[in-house]
Each structure stands twice: as structure tokens, then as C-alpha cells.
């Protein structure tokens, strides 16, 4: 177990020190969220009615959740690259903990996700978003965000181990998760959707996570969303982590 933690930290460190040297990835973490906030706030914002909230207030929790769910794409792309370049072979030939490569990846995502979320929220604050709750709730919101993002990192870890190329990893992640984030309460009130979509959106874990975050940041009625969001995160990780590790054990370079 100590071995697992130690090896995981070594791998996480590797993924973090290489990040500033891959500018395209860094852009994805920093500039992209800012761009999306501005586009949604100023292009769609005027056309979407969000009773009870300004669109800036409505948007930021939604877009932060969407953004964090995609944070793990670096894991998918990175793992897939490692697989093709033989780096996974090297790791697998070393006397290290078997799940450390994946755990290190997903742990590094926590750091980049936090960076990305902070940038996003700061952008939000600049365009009129405000927290309506206590500092404790705000922090709890960030905690929930990171947990949710971590769960999706495992989804992406699995995707990265399964697909045939880094490009495929990117597009599979995009195609699978992009619609999920849109058919939710992230950008528009669910009530405005046609019936079948609305039915889906209401049970969508993204809606649950977004509503939970709105409760923690805006003081919206929480209902059971917060613990349900935690439960979803744990469940997603519990399913995808073992799947990904199993693929890793059997992984063969191209």
C-alpha cells in the first residue's frame, strides 16, 4: 500500500512537471474555460431565461461542472500516448505498484482540475457571478467539484486504455460526454426542454452535480442533490477504476 502511494506520487509528479512543457494542454486548462464562459454569458446568456438567478450566477456552477468532467481528457490522451510510445511497457516491466500509473494520472488531474476551476470561477466573478453562501459551503462546492472530476478522470483513463489512438481518445471522450453535459441543467433550466430530453436531464448525474453545486454556491434548495452527487461520483469511479486497471494490466503496445 505504501508502495502504491509512493509510486502514484512519482507518476503524478511526472505528469505535472511535463504539463508546462506541453503548451497546447496548458491552453486547454486555462484559456478554454475562459472562452466558454464568455461565449455562453454574452452569446446565449441574453436569450436564456433563468428565473430567480442572473445568467452569470446560473451559468458558472453549470459550466464548472462541465469543465471539470472534461478535465480528465488529458489522462485519456496521455495514457494513450504512453501506450503507443512504449512507456506503459516500461512501467509494466518495473517492480512498481500495478495501479500506480493510472492512479498517478488521475491524481495529477485533481491538481489541473483545481487550477482550471479556479480560473473559471475567477472569470465568472469578473462577469458578474457572486457566491451567495458561506465560505464553508463554497469550499464544500469545490470539494464536490474535484470529486466529480476525479470520477470522470477514471472514465477517461478507461477510454485512454481502450481506444486505438490519442485522437480517438479525444473524440470518444467528446462524443460520449459532450451531449451528456448539455442535456442537463448546466446551461438552461431543464424545464425548457422537450419532454423526453427533460426526463433524461432530470436523472442525468450532470444535472444532479450542477444542482448540488448551485445549492452550495448560490443557496438554491439542495434537496438530496449533494449526497446524490457524491454517490454518483463514487459509483462512477468504482466502476471505471477497476475496468481501467484491468486494461492496464493487459495492455500491449500497438
Amino acid at each position: 500500500m505504501r508502495r502504491l502511494v509512493g509510486d502514484t506520487l512519482v507518476i503524478a509528479e511526472r505528469n505535472l512537471i511535463r504539463l508546462p512543457r506541453a503548451p497546447e494542454l496548458l491552453l486547454a486548462f486555462t484559456v478554454q474555460p475562459i472562452m466558454f464562459v464568455l461565449l455562453f454569458r454574452y452569446v446565449f446568456g441574453g436569450a436564456i431565461s433563468t428565473p430567480g438567478y442572473s445568467y452569470a450566477d446560473f451559468l458558472i456552477p453549470g459550466i464548472t461542472v462541465q469543465n471539470i468532467a472534461f478535465g480528465g481528457f488529458v489522462t485519456a490522451i496521455g495514457l494513450n500516448e504512453d501506450l503507443h510510445k512504449g512507456i506503459i511497457d516500461r512501467f509494466r516491466s518495473l517492480p512498481m505498484a500495478r495501479s500506480a500509473v493510472l492512479a498517478g494520472r488521475t491524481s495529477a488531474d485533481i491538481v489541473t482540475n483545481l487550477l482550471s476551476a479556479v480560473i473559471l470561477v475567477l472569470t465568472g466573478l469578473a462577469i458578474g457571478f457572486t457566491f451567495h453562501t458561506s465560505a464553508g459551503d463554497v469550499l464544500a462546492g469545490f470539494g464536490l467539484l474535484l470529486l466529480f472530476g476525479y470520477a470522470f478522470s477514471w472514465v477517461f483513463a478507461f477510454v485512454g486504455m481502450v481506444v486505438s489512438s490519442p485522437e480517438a481518445a479525444n473524440s470518444v471522450g467528446f462524443i460520449a460526454i459532450f451531449p451528456l453535459t448539455f442535456i442537463s441543467s448546466a446551461f438552461v433550466p431543464v424545464i425548457s426542454m422537450p419532454e423526453p430530453l427533460r426526463a433524461f436531464a432530470e436523472v442525468n448525474p450532470f444535472t444532479i452535480a450542477v444542482d448540488a453545486l448551485r445549492a452550495l454556491w448560490l443557496g438554491a434548495p439542495a434537496g438530496d442533490n449533494v449526497w446524490k452527487a457524491v454517490l454518483w461520483s463514487v459509483a462512477i469511479a468504482a466502476v471505471f477504476a477497476p475496468l481501467a486497471v484491468r486494461r492496464y494490466r493487459r495492455a500491449a503496445a500497438s
Binding site: R3, K85, D89, R92, S93, L94, A252
Partner: protein, 378 residues
């Protein structure tokens, strides 16, 4: 921390009972490598004192029995038996798709065999995989290093994954970079390295824990001749210090130079085993190739050259080939014979057997059809 240091000590001990070795570094040091580097005679190839010296009982460092691994319908390994003695270099020679890489992947615990058994350093590659990983080093076909890390960061990371404390891993990384002549590039990201530098770094990564058994999968494929030579010298250095090395290659000259013993593998089976000389003998030794001025004189040329070999020379256009009995002086002898017969020569050369020749001879395809064989070899 204690454990790892002790482990490193064990790993860097000479794997065999070779006597009176160069002073061997205890602990994770590679002094021996740099010492050997200075002593390495340039260009010397032949004498490899690698095989079980002085009558000690050879212990197989690698032992493979009836190994089978299939991918769908393709039997990548089709019942391989193979032993590699401790302290020797085995070259696994074969064309693309022969099963070389599969073999290495099974022996380095990356792949589970379908049937048969394999042990490395006395440890079963499936049952004892976890323990075995501490005793082997693997350098792959492509340089498996992180492009966005520096050379030093790469090696330090590998060291820490072998269980070394950070400081020890760093020191070890510096030592290796030094002895692989990468010190100047130590703090540059690997993406700026040349192909040869990457390959050296990859090999260095395989040596971080001074493993007694090394697996090198096509270590020089795709390298320019100079980098290739450098890498050869490094591998020779390691071998001369007693490491057991199993390397795969498509090139006979590489196996020739590095490996004391060669196993030829084709379609998942070992079809021949021996020293490079033994293998070449099976191909029929050296061939003298003569390009004549005019095709009309081939008959005469073939006749005068026939005294040099046991078999009749072959003729193809203005090219006459004869498998010579004796190498030394063969070119001079050929020129003399042809000159006496008044046959004009454009070009004359002794050709060493290539992998294709060995391969053609061993698989039975193309033997006796020299012309066809040559076309493929060219």
C-alpha cells in the same frame, strides 16, 4: 529506504561467479561502466569472453520450454525451447513478425504465454512476475522515454519506481547520464534529443537498477551508423562486465558482433542455434562475386574459378559467383586466375552471408537458387 538500498546492492553484484573482475561498485553506482568505457578497444570485434568461463557449471539465466503465444489465428510463438546461460549474450535473430518481440514481452512479464513455461533468473515469468521485475531491465524497439521530461527527470523517475529514495535515484541518474555521454543534455527535454541520444537514454533507463539480466528489443533499429556503433560499444561494455543479455535483431552483423550465441527464429519457432560462425558455415561461407566486362566470357570465368570452391560457380548475366573454401586471399586468387585466363573484371568482392542468406539456407527456401537469393538480399 533500507530495503531499497539493500536491494540495489544485490542487483549490482556480479551475476556470475566470475573471478578477479574489475573492482565492482557496491550499491547503485556505475563506476564499472565508465572504467570499462575507457578500456574498450575501438573497433575490436571478435573475442568475446562471454561464455561460461573456466569450467564452472553454467546456470541458465533464461529458460524457456514449449512456449506458445497466439494472437487470434497467428501463432507468434509456436513451441519455443531456449536457454540462455548466465553471463552470456544471446542474439535472437529473425525477420519482422518472427516472434522476437513476443518472446521478449513474455520474458519481461508484459505478456502471459498461452502454454509452456519460462523462467528468468530462476523465477517463473507468470507466478513470480512481481519479484522478477526487480531483476530485469528492458529497452524497447522505440525509445520508451517521456519526451516532455528531461533526460535526468526520466532516469530519476525510473529509479524511484524501482524503489530508490529520491536522492539516490538522482545520483544514479547523473552517473548513468555521465557514462552514456548525455551529461550535457541532462537538463534538456528529451524531445530535443536525436534518435541515438534517445536510444541511449532508453538503455540507461533499463540499467537504473543495475539489473543482472537485460532484454533489448531491436536496440539499434532505425539508428544511423554512428549511433549504432556507439550503442554496440555500450552493450559490449555491459556484457563484458558479466550481465546476461538477450537482444533481438534483424541484422546478422549486429548479432555477429554482440552475441556469443545466436538463435534464429522464424514463424514462432527456433530453427537454428549456434555461434555466428556456425551459422555462417551452414550458409556455405563466403562468396566471391565477380562482375565481368562482358557476359560472353562467363563460361571461361566460371571454369577457372571453379577450383576455388567445392561447388560449381553460378552465372547470372555478367555476374559469376563462387562459394570459396578459404577466405584469406580469395580476392587476390580470383583476380590472378581471371587475369591468367585473360578475362576482364569490372568488380570483384567477397560477400559475407547476410541474414537473408542464413535465413534462406535455414528455411530451405531459395537454397541453390543463388541468383534469386541475391536479388532479395540486395
Amino acid at each position: 529506504m533500507q530495503t531499497s538500498i539493500r536491494k540495489m546492492g544485490v542487483l549490482s553484484r556480479p551475476p556470475s561467479g566470475t573471478t578477479a573482475d574489475a573492482p565492482r561498485a557496491r550499491g547503485p553506482s556505475l563506476d564499472w561502466l565508465s572504467v570499462a568505457a575507457e578500456e574498450e578497444p575501438q573497433g575490436d570485434v571478435s573475442p568475446r569472453p562471454l561464455r561460461g568461463a573456466n569450467g564452472r557449471v553454467p546456470v541458465p539465466a533464461v529458460s524457456v520450454r514449449g512456449l506458445v503465444k497466439s494472437y487470434g489465428d497467428v501463432r507468434a510463438l509456436d513451441g519455443v525451447d531456449l536457454d540462455v546461460e548466465e553471463g552470456t549474450v544471446l542474439g535472437l535473430l529473425g525477420p519482422n513478425g518472427a516472434g522476437k518481440t513476443t518472446m521478449i514481452r513474455v520474458l519481461t512479464t508484459l505478456l502471459k504465454p498461452d502454454a509452456g513455461s519460462a523462467s528468468v533468473a530462476g523465477l517463473d515469468v507468470v507466478r513470480d512476475a512481481a519479484r522478477l521485475r526487480g531483476l530485469i531491465g528492458l529497452a524497447g524497439q522505440y525509445a520508451a522515454v517521456d519526451e516532455n521530461l528531461t533526460g535526468k527527470e526520466n532516469l530519476t523517475m525510473v529509479g524511484r519506481l524501482y524503489g530508490m529514495p529520491r536522492a539516490v535515484a538522482r545520483r544514479r541518474a547523473s552517473e548513468l547520464l555521465e557514462s552514456f555521454e548525455l551529461s550535457d543534455a541532462a537538463d534538456r527535454a528529451v524531445k530535443g534529443y536525436s534518435g541515438g541520444m534517445r536510444r541511449r537514454l532508453d538503455l540507461a533507463a533499463a540499467l537504473v537498477a543495475s539489473p543482472p539480466i537485460l532484454f533489448l528489443d531491436e536496440p539499434t533499429t532505425g539508428l544511423d551508423p554512428r549511433s549504432r556503433l556507439q550503442l554496440w560499444e555500450t552493450i559490449e561494455r555491459l556484457a563484458s562486465e558479466g550481465a546476461t543479455v538477450m537482444l533481438t535483431t534483424q541484422y546478422l552483423d549486429e548479432a555477429d558482433r554482440l552475441a556469443g550465441s545466436i538463435a534464429v527464429i522464424d514463424r514462432g519457432r527456433v530453427i537454428a542455434r549456434g555461434s555466428s560462425d556456425e551459422l555462417k558455415d551452414r550458409v556455405g561461407g563466403q562468396r566471391l562475386e565477380v562482375h565481368l566486362d562482358e557476359a560472353a566470357r562467363t563460361g571461361v570465368a566460371a571454369e577457372v574459378l571453379s577450383v576455388m570452391g567445392d561447388e560449381a560457380p553460378t552465372v547470372d548475366g555478367e555476374l559469376v559467383c563462387v562459394t570459396v573454401r578459404e577466405r584469406p586471399g580469395a580476392v587476390v586468387e580470383g583476380v590472378r586466375l581471371l587475369d591468367e585466363a585473360g578475362v576482364g573484371v569490372q568488380d570483384i568482392a567477397l560477400r559475407r552471408p547476410t541474414l537473408d542468406d542464413v535465413f534462406l539456407a535455414l528455411t530451405g527456401h531459395g537454397t541453390g537458387e543463388d541468383g534469386a537469393g541475391e536479388e532479395e538480399a540486395a
